[in-house]
Symmetry: C2
Subunit: 170 residues, 2 copies
């Protein structure tokens, strides 16, 4: 199955000059969706993992079925103000301005083995902020998985040294 | 398994007087998470369904593993400005002010059989807005599933006549 047939290019979204990679056709096709999740889960099938961590919001779409397929618990990294209990906050830079991500302090214990999941590896900013949150809680990141990697943006440089898997490279 | 043991009550979140139902302990426990998804998918196992529709963001967390378990495609209903292609917008009222939800116009064809999923049935406002979007595109809603129903808020009244399943009732 060529997953690339299910990724739609949308020019000038969210702003002029950006070619947005729309994954909704892949999600909508039941064979493409299941095959993509299975292909992303496969490298981790025999690995010791305690939890899958997914980054809001599209990381939830990929991360929760991966957690289900791998029979692991799921932990959300969320946008500010969404998590109700004691939490840690990480700041990260955007092209203009900055943003924040949060995780519950009691979500991860020291030594917990974590698989971090998101849909897209672009500049790596949100991934790096999530890595920082997990490690500040003592989590041990055993892998980072993405559906799609945008090669030109060199996001890998921000998360060097980690075991990275990307299903598609554009 | 008593799923209620994994729902945490957080007083005064997101504002004073609200008792927030935190589902993150259920998501984190691999047995509770898998059992909850399986129990929510079970009523639909032999039903004719084309797509699972999940509402951003916690509806993604429940809806995508249900789609995976039921071997169906997944369609997101998203907050404003997130979907990149031609879309429909629905307004719905909040306690103070209003909000919007969006769906891609090409997500659903006339007659597609839809299972709508969210984590929480509270006042029913977001559910009703999502129902309107799906039906405006010609979708046929064969079921609406929630992890948790807040009985005091009478959300069912807003979506009367639909086949509603709620795993937990508080």
């Amino acid at each position: 199955m060529n997953f690339n047939d299910y990724i739609r290019n949308i020019p000038d979204f969210p702003k002029e000059g950006i070619l947005f990679k729309d994954i909704t056709p892949l999600l909508k096709d039941k064979k493409a969706f299941k095959s993509a999740i299975d292909a992303m889960a496969k490298p981790y099938q025999d690995m010791e993992i305690d939890y899958v961590v997914g980054i809001e919001a599209r990381g939830f779409i990929i991360g929760t079925p991966m957690a289900y397929a791998l029979d692991k618990g799921f932990i959300p990294v969320r946008k500010p103000g969404k998590l109700p209990h004691d939490k840690l906050t990480a700041n990260y830079d955007l092209e203009y301005g900055s943003n924040e991500l949060e995780i519950h302090k009691d979500a991860i214990d020291k030594g917990d083995k974590i698989l971090l999941v998101d849909d897209l590896l672009a500049t790596g900013g949100t991934t790096k902020a999530s890595v920082d949150l997990i490690e500040e809680l003592g989590g041990d990141i055993v892998g980072i998985a993405f559906l799609l990697e945008l090669m030109d943006l060199n996001g890998r440089e921000k998360i060097e040294g980690y075991d990275i898997f990307t299903l598609l490279q554009h």
